[in-house]
Symmetry: C2
Subunit: 197 residues, 2 copies
DNA sequence: GAGTCAAACGGAGGGAGGTTCCGTATGCCA
DNA sequence: TGGCATACGGAACCTCCCTCCGTTTGACTC
């Protein structure tokens, strides 16, 4: 369900009605095509699918990369929401982490564009920065809790979980085997109960 | 040190002297440029750097991707050799694995083209197939030994190590933090001594 | 050495994809 | 309804990868 609040440009100015409509069409087309085939879809094709000219694409997004990122932002938000729910319901940090990573993998397996963005196959450096910061904050919190309760080893930081997520992403993205098992392996590696001091 | 044995085409036919010379120049240029800047170097640039026409590039390598792979094959061979030495000298499978992964990370950190190939950022599916098969065979052997001696958990196959290596690669490639620590985490996850049966 | 010919070379040009530019259309506000 | 900033479309441009073909050159024979 797309936002019904008035869409604004990054400048904060309000969009003209046709511009708002077109922006939505473009985002929908982008989400659909990128999810199915990854970033390997031409701008012409997105434009055609959205029934819009290429120029309009560039009116709304500075580059193709920005468009792919914008198209996956929704997924990112969904995952963050899910994760917060899990945290509220589950007491055990490692369990919450497992559910998060599994969800990320599932979404990535279904949405190749999202996987590209998370994995950063697209030139720059990973997930959209605000989203990344939000998730990292949550993870810092979680890791802290796990360390306090003694379940997570001490030499880990919240940011490490993000890096490990990127690693998982590349495995999911390349469809090598059953990625769920790798989550278990990494989680076992994060436990503190088998470290010899 | 380049091979001094007569270079032959994949067909097995012997190359003409100028062709052999040019092939070496191209490979050297490719190795240098790709190591430094990843696969993000144009064929024109490689040709200019090798003082050769673009056509010559395509006489020796069918596609750019094939060239990047060929340029990183040497590195792959070095790593395999190193790994075999380690295996001969070290009795402990997990230790050998740690040394292998560390070496892979070090080479990737220094050679972005190699990292692209291992990570498979390049379209198709990972390391050159013969090299991949050789390494996988070694890993199957190693994992078997570790499982027999009880140090490695039972639900792991040799191929899993390759997948995990791809994950590590994407972390190294993106320069996120200190990748060496992630090796320790994964290796701890591979141990059998903390699994509750 | 000179002749012959397959092998190899160079680089212009085809084609695809991302991005820009600008003349035209259109929503918005007075 | 008129004026104008905003937005649109798509041709054109640039950069890449790759192909094609006329020219050059090494290798082998006589």
């Amino acid at each position: 369900m797309p936002t019904s609040t008035p869409v604004t440009e990054s400048g904060g100015r309000r969009l003209r009605a046709d511009a708002e409509r077109n922006r939505a069409r473009v985002l929908n087309a982008a989400r659909e095509l990128f999810a199915e085939r990854g970033a390997n879809v031409s701008m012409d094709e997105v434009a055609r699918h959205a029934e819009v000219g290429v120029g309009t694409l560039y009116r709304h997004f500075p580059t193709k990369e920005a468009m792919v990122v914008a198209a996956s932002q929704q997924r990112f938000g969904e995952i963050l929401t899910y994760y917060r729910t899990v945290c509220r319901e589950s007491a055990e940090p490692l369990e919450a982490l497992q559910m998060l990573l599994t969800r990320v993998g599932e979404v990535e397996a279904r949405d190749r564009g999202f996987a590209s963005v998370v994995g950063g196959t697209l030139g720059s450096e990973g997930p959209p920065s605000t989203m990344r910061a939000d998730l990292e904050a949550e993870l810092v919190d979680l890791v802290g809790k796990g360390q306090a309760s003694g379940s997570i080893r001490r030499d880990i930081a919240g940011a490490d979980i993000l890096a490990l997520t990127c690693g998982l992403t590349s495995i999911v993205h390349r469809r090598s085997g059953d990625w769920r098992r790798y989550i278990d392996i990494v989680l076992d590696g994060l436990r503190s109960d088998h470290i010899t001091p």
